[in-house]
Homo-oligomer: 519 residues x 2
């Protein structure tokens, strides 16, 4: 199969039906297909062919949906860029993936000069915005309407569909290469396990399309047919309004988004009864929040998915029936039909049920590998098993419970934050002698990025100093929201900081502001 297959099917079955709804702009399947085929022609004239990467740095929009199809239609490979990234991170990913063509919307057009400076190989930038294209940028609307439509390259199967950068555990992002088969195995397998998108329905894309929480529901709705309702970015009121206005049938939210909808004072003022399915994913959910959500949306089936970009992305599902039974709401669910899931010990043997180990997953949805990183690929995918880096256990009925992240990854506001990356930035501050970054429970963010810092002798620093320093290097959401100054870090015999000890300290949860000094 191939990513554009659903568009061909929709064109045969429902050419007049809306394909995308973005604000007041509604495009039919026929229009959508025409624009995609012309855009692909335009990409050809810009030199795209045979697996060339096309980066997209944009908030959600109908144009984003067009690009997700036009790039493979033109035989290209998608490179959706994390919109929370700093210019330095974006440049890194563009250089790493040898991407010379970038699409930006109005929000990100101002970054282009900095990106060009950092990546002189950036040959072409397309402006997918609403106003006139700035100088030296190619106008998207001309590409989507001007060129002759070209035939679909039908890029599919084991060919790469995209390079999806994730914040790497080494401190540098890694490009996850997913094939068309990877993405479609997860899409069909998850939908066959527990329907989470309504065929012919209207899916609300409130999570960003660069992220699996946006891309996966886009793909399933494309495959089974229906309409994409798009929000440029998450906002609880916009979500409720869109559901009510467009009779949305399903959506995907990360837990922090769900919390902001469910706890919003206006919740009762919107008619959300059209919402048949709500899938949540992306980080652990508090059981209290989940129960509140189930109560607040009595007409809606809840489904949880667990996985990661490297798994295309879905590995396990807590089905609607599991939620109705309600006895395992803290679980991430059981293996979807396309996935083999195990909990393994350090040497790769299956751990006894109930014993914590690393969650490992095998199947046709496991990534082809990390872009140009054979060592990291070999470390993650061993004997066909993707080692998720997540610590968890499996109960007697095969339900997986995630208890921690082996690699100290922090999930804050639905975004993955890798502590090593933050530590790298933090340690470059002149006052910092040593540091460790951990996640601590936080009511607003799920987890809060928390720094434990040893200062240089005689040096002084405040939380604000450190945040300013970190934010200059990496995205703001990765900067510590609290800090604690200590005399030394607990280290193991091999010299590794013992983060488990830091997490276990009673003192960790304070000091959201303040300053420290060491004499």
């Amino acid at each position: 199969m191939y990513l554009t297959q659903g568009l061909h099917r929709a064109l045969r079955h429902t050419p007049e039906r809306p394909a995308t709804i973005f604000g007041d702009r509604i495009r039919s399947v026929a229009e959508h297909a025409d624009r995609v085929a012309r855009l692909a022609g335009g990409l050809h004239t810009l030199g795209v062919s045979d697996g060339e990467r096309v980066a997209i740095l944009s908030l959600n929009s109908d144009r984003y949906c067009e690009l997700l199809l036009a790039v493979p239609w033109a035989d290209g490979v998608l490179n959706p860029v994390n919109v929370r990234w700093s210019p330095a991170e974006i440049v890194y990913s563009l250089v790493d993936s040898d991407t010379s063509l970038l699409v930006v919307d109005d929000t990100f057009a101002p970054l282009v000069p900095e990106l060009r400076e950092g990546h002189p190989g950036l040959r072409t930038v397309i402006h997918a915005g609403d106003g006139d294209a700035p100088d030296e940028l190619v106008a998207y609307e001309e590409l989507a309407t001007g060129p002759a439509a070209v035939p679909d390259a039908r890029r599919g199967g084991d060919a790469a569909a995209g390079v999806f950068y994730t914040g790497g555990t080494t401190g540098f992002p890694k490009g996850v290469v997913l094939t068309h088969a990877n993405l479609l195995t997860s899409a069909l397998g998850s939908q066959a396990t527990c329907p989470w998108v309504v065929p012919g329905g209207r899916g609300l894309l409130a999570a960003p399309l660069f992220h699996a929480a946006g891309l996966a529901p886009w793909l399933v709705q494309s495959v089974v047919g229906g309409t994409h309702v798009l929000l440029p970015a998450f906002d609880p009121v916009a979500v409720m309004r869109a559901i009510a206005a467009h009779r949305v049938t399903s959506t995907v939210l990360v837990p922090t988004m769900l919390q902001r909808v469910v706890d919003h004072p206006d919740l009762g003022r919107h008619d959300l009864t059209s919402l048949r399915i709500l899938l949540y994913a992306g980080s652990a959910i508090g059981e209290a929040l989940l129960l509140r959500a189930i109560e607040a949306l009595p007409a809606t089936d809840f489904v949880q998915a667990y996985g990661m970009t490297e798994l295309g992305p879905i590995a396990t599902m807590l089905t609607a029936e599991d939620h109705r039974r309600g006895d395992r709401l803290r679980s991430a669910g059981r293996a979807a039909v396309h996935a083999e899931v195990r909990v393994v010990d350090e040497v790769g043997n299956e751990a006894p049920r109930g014993t914590v180990g690393e969650v490992a997953v095998r199947g046709g949805h496991v990534m082809a590998g990390y872009w140009a990183k054979p060592k990291e690929t070999a470390a993650a995918v061993r004997g066909d098993w993707m080692h998720t880096g997540d610590a968890g256990y499996m109960d007697d009925a095969g339900y997986v419970f995630i208890v921690d992240r082996l690699k100290d990854m922090i999930v804050s506001g639905g975004e993955n934050v890798y502590s090593v990356e933050v530590e790298n930035a933090l340690s470059r501050h002149p006052a910092v002698a040593a540091c460790a970054v951990i996640g601590v429970p936080d009511l607003d963010w799920g987890e809060r990025v928390h720094a434990v810092v040893v200062l240089e002798p005689g040096a002084r620093a405040t939380l604000d100093d450190l945040r300013a320093h970190v934010t200059a290097a990496i995205a703001g959401y990765k900067a510590p929201r609290s800090v604690e100054f200590v005399d030394e870090l607990p280290v193991s015999g091999a010299g590794k900081v013992q983060k488990a000890q830091l997490r276990a300290r009673p003192s960790r949860a304070f000091a959201t502001a303040g300053h420290g000094g060491r004499r």
Copy 2:
């Protein structure tokens, strides 16, 4: 993916749940898996490895389900034999596919000497019956309990899963080679298009497992998890009893089976309310029968699938929602999400909507080819498109309407006559119990429309009666010019009328007039 994947998943999730129910014999998933793994060990000792074919000649049973998994577990290839075949046809398929290992149940054990005589290469015969194994036959129960369990070969992906012989249009059967990916693409794609098997539910296998109408629901239930309820062969009362006794959630029936259930006088005496989904497939259905069935089973969703063995088998589906809408009940539905479906003219160009042509299908579910028949494969699969041999048209919304088998289409006096249309008209005559319409060579007309009719008990009718009746409904040139009255029509194991047999009968060309009566 691979055929045994669902068993591994079930073993992790629900080892205590019944895997198979066959009469009074209930085996749990754990028992089922243990027997499969031992059987695979037994097959190894009998020399099965690396794609060797294992034929199964048996009515439906729990053992049949075990074999469907044990053969790939042992790295073998399935060769399920049509139980309606003559010994000569069976011998042909065993020789053609170079199959040296055969499993028979009690029903077919008496055929073994004749099969051995016809196929001296038949090295081993396993007796999967209930009594003692006859001389020179290997006892199945010893294989399923004696040998040590072996690890699953995890045969899957593009490796052959089975050779499925179909009564060939050329008069000789052809072995359709389906890979694991072929079968699983159809299974996941059809279930994602419109759920037709209940995850964790109980599927009744009343259609024979050698046939797609039995194999496909077996596979989907295996993949999504649940219990197989097996009948040795179709019987309307047994179907109703099994649904009521085991709270069956879904089943697949061919139209003739459905008719015998729906029109059974005891229908109202069985509680069939557990049946959430009934999929029918295998041949065209009369709209009157369908409406009767929908009315008789108000708690049940109806789904139609159209396809063929060569398509793994599903290409299009008339969904439950389509049935509820009810405006296209004569359609075979629309392309499933995994299939690309077109109607093409003689040179392979897409026919305009509404124009009859040949139905052609493309996708990951199209067979690898006919076993050792490259010419026939090249004739059927052209440019990746499987040419089904079915004449049909597509309407503006993509719904496919099958009008006839191309080979059953009659060209009489330069006009195309679709036998199905004539049969529909003829079958509404009160004296007609069953009928088949074929073309026979005719000096004046090229082909002449010829009817083979089974009369209702005690009824009488003449050619003129029948012609008058048909001509009242459809064009005069479509009315039969000759008729032949018989006691019964030859039908296949799947309940399809065998028109090739009718055409081959020496008696066919007479009776251009006259009348028949049945006592």
